[in-house]
């Protein structure tokens, strides 16, 4: 939902935004949809500075969910660049600001992984496994974190 002011501000501050339109840019759409394997609209790809996909959002989402997904992608970009502390901070922001969205349990999972990647200390994984015992119990991410308890 692009008209949402929070989404507009976050996108303009965080990314170089580009658009290919299925009808108005038909040739460009065909070329880039093949290159990035994105045949459906709407699809949003978040690419790192070298053009490598780090996150994909397919289909319409209400504003809160879209913003949470964009934040998740921004956090994954930091994770992909091994900026572990920044990645953890960004993942935890999603859980705090948008706890009801589908992005939140995924963010909680990766917020536990980032400090482990930084230190090799499994304490953050164990803590995340315990956190999933109390919230998002029905999510796929709780199942994935269940081995950490």
């Amino acid at each position: 939902m692009w008209p949402d002011e929070r989404v507009v501000r976050f996108v303009n501050e965080s990314f170089l935004p580009a658009r290919v339109h299925v009808k108005d840019d038909g040739q460009a759409f065909q070329r880039f949809s093949e290159r990035f394997r994105a045949p459906w609209t709407p699809t949003i790809l978040l690419l790192d500075p070298d053009g490598v996909e780090q996150h994909r959002i397919e289909g319409f989402l209400p504003a809160d969910d879209l913003l949470a997904q964009l934040m998740l992608g921004r956090a994954k970009l930091a994770f992909g660049q091994q900026q572990w502390a920044e990645a953890e901070r960004r993942f935890r922001e999603i859980v705090e600001q948008f706890p009801q969205t589908d992005a939140a349990p995924e963010a909680l999972y990766w917020a536990g992984v980032a400090p482990y990647k930084a230190t090799g200390n499994p304490a953050s994984l164990k803590a995340t496994g315990r956190a999933f015992a109390e919230r998002y119990q029905d999510s796929t991410w709780a199942k994935k974190a269940s081995v950490w308890r």
């Binding site: 935004p17 580009a18 609209t41 949003i44 790809l45 070298d50 053009g51």
Partner: protein, 32 residues
């Protein structure tokens, strides 16, 4: 305030590399 979408995707990808900034690439069917 609108999103500053650009349509020259090849140039955006080049600029991202030079500026070390991530890209949001929107495949859209929304009315322009």
């Amino acid at each position: 305030m609108p999103i500053n979408f650009r349509h020259d995707v090849d140039q955006v990808l080049e600029d991202a590399k030079a500026q070390r900034k991530p890209v949001l690439l929107d495949f859209s069917a929304a009315p322009m």
